[in-house]
């Protein structure tokens, strides 16, 4: 049966680079996919692009390509990625320059555009899901709107014969599904196969999270070699069945348990996983260990895709100011609590009214609140104040107030850290599918 091998070279924008090189060199791959766009990444990219028209793509793009392109070129591994982020064209030109400097003859990049739908968002005055009202009524300072596109543009890009396909916002599993549909000629209404391929893409998209990363719990779930964690690859056959594995000798583990955790990662209804390509059904997926670090995936399904696409909308949402200070030894918790109480009182003394505030004792109640903190007094604690503010100056003030505890607060406070940052928040909405059009631009010498 016809088979292809697809590797996953990154699970997020800043992921390790060496495991991708290892895959390119030793994975006997046909495709290497880099999924590098979290919900907010593209909105950050839009801000960067506004400041410099040649920026707005993944910050590690050049380093990644310098590392993997020679092996990918030599081994005929095609690359598919969303590292274009807010500026896929600029990313494409950068990759062409790197390929030229590396002496890779006849290198070709296909850039997929069309996800930027900021004009359509305003023209159609779409309803924001979280705000619950139309854009024009929301009063939000919107800076980006990007539609999650499916495989269509990627397929056209692959058909061009390009060595590398660079997109912006594309649904994560679609990056993996496109090579399967391209190679096996699956009809784009074969919902079962698209569901199976989407499941494989979902399993691979967070890279190390299926090979033992984000899994270890010493003494209970031990994983060997996390400092040299291998990233996953799937051997996919034309029926849509697959084996998840990794390069021999790499760190980590691929077992049924790692696959199960990743199957349910960021999933809501298991029988209705919406992507632009299909409504995938993971409810009957099963995993079978077939040997060391080899797990077979079976049982995914799918049904007809929806007529709408999701848009993620980025908007400016004020500022957050933070300050932290640590206490240790006898009575550390009481001194940490006193520190928080002082800062809270200072805010009222200074007539500063937080929009929203948190007062945490890291080591006691910062992660899960007070009611679960029953494990005795810790040796050290860190008092943490975080405040939502309407201006940057207010956010700076919050950290400064915590810093004044050095000379004005409880005994023995140390290690102050403070920060003030602008908040880039996200909302989402749905757009009719026919309003979004993928287009391809080919870059070659």
């Amino acid at each position: 049966m016809n088979k292809i091998r697809i590797g996953s070279g990154a699970g997020y924008a800043g992921d390790r680079i060496e495991p991708a090189v290892e895959l390119a060199q030793k994975g006997q791959l046909d495709y290497l996919v880099f999924e590098c766009l979290a919900e907010r990444t593209i909105a950050i990219g839009q801000k960067q692009k506004k400041q410099d028209a040649n920026k707005g793509y993944n910050e590690l793009l050049e380093a990644r390509m310098r590392a993997v392109l020679p092996s990918c070129y030599e081994n005929c591994v095609r690359i598919v990625t969303n590292m274009g982020a807010a500026n896929p064209i600029a990313a494409g030109h950068l990759v062409m320059r790197v390929a030229k400097e590396l002496g890779l003859a006849s290198f070709k990049v296909a850039v997929v555009l069309g996800d930027d739908v900021l004009p359509e968002l305003h023209r159609l005055d779409l309803k924001l899901n979280e705000a619950g009202v139309a854009v024009s009524q929301s009063g939000k300072d919107i800076i980006s709107a990007n539609a999650y596109m499916g495989i269509e543009g990627l397929l056209e890009a692959l058909e061009s014969g390009a060595n590398m396909v660079i997109a912006g916002r594309v649904a994560d599993p679609s990056l993996f599904l496109a090579p399967m549909v391209h190679e096996f000629g699956w009809p784009q209404d074969d919902w079962e196969k698209l569901g199976k391929g989407t499941c494989i893409g979902h399993l691979l998209e967070c890279a190390g999270q299926i090979t033992g990363g984000y899994f270890a719990d010493p003494g209970v779930k031990d994983v060997i070699g996390l400092a040299k964690l291998g990233f996953p690859l799937a051997e996919v056959d034309e029926s849509g069945d697959a084996v998840i594995t990794k390069v021999e000798g790499s760190g980590g583990v691929v077992c049924e348990a790692t696959c199960k955790e990743q199957l349910l990662y960021e999933i809501h209804r298991p029988d209705q996983y919406f992507t632009p390509d299909v409504v995938a059904d993971f409810s009957n997926v099963s995993f079978i260990q077939q040997g060391d670090n080899r797990v077979a995936v079976k049982g995914a399904n799918g049904s007809v895709r929806t007529q709408t696409l999701k848009i993620s909308v980025g908007y400016n949402d004020g500022f957050i100011g933070e300050g932290e200070i640590s206490f240790a030894g006898p009575n550390a918790v009481a001194r940490g609590q006193l520190a928080l109480d002082i800062v809270k009182e200072r805010f009222s003394v200074c007539r500063f009214e937080p929009i929203e505030a948190r007062y945490d004792l890291v080591g006691v109640n910062a992660l899960h609140g007070v009611t679960r903190s029953t494990h005795g007094e810790p040796y050290e604690v860190r008092a943490r104040v975080a405040v939502r503010c309407s201006t940057f100056e207010d956010a700076v003030f919050v950290g400064n107030e915590v810093e004044t505890l050095y000379t004005n607060g409880p005994a023995g406070g140390g290690g102050v850290a403070k920060s003030a940052k602008a908040v880039l928040a996200m909302d989402s909405c749905l757009i009719p599918r026919d309003q979004v059009h993928a287009t391809i631009t080919i870059l070659e010498d």
Partner: protein, 99 residues
């Protein structure tokens, strides 16, 4: 017995929604967590963190439950004031649950 003794877990986030998987090591223990770890109990367990509804989905084929918790992340990863903005550590709190 704590859930940690028979199951493992991972948390994911989408906007202000957190989902926590609960997966038994031994498929024979699935019936036990299915009976003992209801959506209502999880809602109570996270009552000081989760403001919205908790919905449970069952995956008998892999011996897992998936809990979807609404209004769980202080407005979502992009605007939360929390230390753990993704709520990634919530899985560990679920494994501390006694059955």
């Amino acid at each position: 017995m704590k859930l940690r003794d028979i199951a493992h877990s991972r948390t994911g986030d989408k906007g202000d929604i957190s989902n926590i998987s609960l997966i038994v090591y031994d498929i024979h223990d699935y019936g036990q967590i299915k009976d003992a770890v209801t959506a209502e109990k999880v809602q109570n367990w996270f009552s000081d963190i989760v403001s919205g509804e908790v919905v449970r989905y069952e995956l008998p084929a892999i011996g897992a439950l998936n809990f979807v918790m609404y209004e769980a992340l202080g407005g979502g990863v992009t605007r939360s004031l929390a230390l753990d903005i993704h709520g990634k550590s919530l899985s560990s709190a679920l494994l501390d649950f006694v059955i």
